[in-house]
Assembly symmetry: C2
């Protein structure tokens, strides 16, 4: 019988770190691998956090560099962009001029890369790819490659293209960020090691869309984010 | 109105070069881009040919390097494999011990990479990704990521994940290699510039699965392959 393994897309942020916690709980750390992807982000804070979180769980961390593919993309998250990362919620941005933090088909490419990586690590195992997307990511259609429809579609493509050896799941796809924090607090995810802010300061800025969402998610659980913010 | 552009996965082989010819015929060379992917192949013959073919058509050629993703994969096509490229048809290999030339989810990853690349080149255009797979690729289930079912599934995922801006088509998916050569001879594809052999000799070997298929495809069209072979 083929062994069952899991591979988690780990950015070092809140969602993917919780996803890793869930995967380890379900598969045991020796059957779990994590992959962090660099794609020309403005800062390397997240990738450092990915390493700390992977070490915490005792899983192997692989790095994939997709920077050259996104060269020239007009996205404020990328270091060669002329545009600053905007402040305010996603909702405000969409109703202003569209989400400038959309990285073209990023999740599709990362899932495909991880499917290939999984079978390159062990071509005899069956693999589950864990993706930490959630329903707030698709609010107002901000990121189409985070939707439940997208997860179903990419799972189908990956499954067909790998002789059925690789599947893709997104355990939080129907949940809000506050639900994810609830799960994470229950299973003891080391949130003090994570980083979510789009900017690369000493502390999380507290003003960008992801900071606003993150703080609110802890607040809704009656908890305080262990990671400090510039703006209290 | 958004401008319509095409991007072609170009290996420098027979199928993808014909695909480029078709895309240029349909979109005009100034609206077509080509992408060649390196993934740790044993030789660089194909990538050189991709450049020659792109130059012939006057289209921009982009290169994407996915080598590190496949590091460790057990595939005889890759340069770090211990295994030799087998001789004989795919049919013989499948009935022997499986196709050792399967590169894990290669087409899925390459399509995803090209979708991201297309929107990085021009995020305002609508794009069609051209993929040169054909029905012989899936004979006996050799390459599941070349099937019609797969093309439909990855098109669906790409479409959803890009706000509908990118589609994937495989104009030859129901055809045999000989049908592709027929199309290519009609529209004047410069086959003398292409390379299909899995091995990287001075001439095409004439013995590996892809050489056998290629020669036969010309023969069925009453034509002779302009590229010379070791074994006549």
């Amino acid at each position: 019988m083929k062994s069952k393994k899991a591979i988690v897309l780990l950015s070092g942020g809140l969602d993917s770190s919780t996803c890793l916690g869930v995967a380890v709980k379900e598969h045991g750390s020796k059957n779990v691998h994590a992959v962090t992807v660099t794609y020309g982000q403005r800062h390397s804070k997240e990738t450092c956090c990915a390493k700390d979180v992977a070490d915490h769980y005792g899983v192997s961390l692989h790095t994939i560099d997709l920077t050259e593919i996104f060269a020239g993309a007009n996205c404020s998250l990328l270091s060669d962009s002329q545009e600053d990362v905007p402040d305010g919620t996603y909702y405000e941005q969409i109703h202003d001029k569209g989400v400038s933090t959309y990285v073209p088909f990023r999740n599709g490419l990362m899932v495909a890369a991880i499917a290939s990586k999984a079978l390159s690590i062990d071509g005899d195992a069956t693999w589950t790819v864990y993706l930490g997307v959630h329903s707030d990511d698709t609010a107002g259609d901000a990121y189409p490659d985070c939707s439940e429809e997208f997860v179903g579609a990419i799972n189908n493509a990956v499954n067909i293209g790998t002789y059925g050896q690789v599947s893709v799941i997104a355990p939080f796809v129907g949940l809000h960020k506050s639900d994810i924090v609830k799960v994470g607090l229950e299973i003891g995810v080391p949130y003090e090691l994570t980083w979510s802010c789009y900017k690369g300061g000493e502390k999380q800025c507290g003003k960008c869309a992801t900071c606003i969402d993150r703080r609110e998610a802890f607040r809704l659980n009656g908890a305080t984010d262990p990671v400090p913010y510039e703006e209290q």
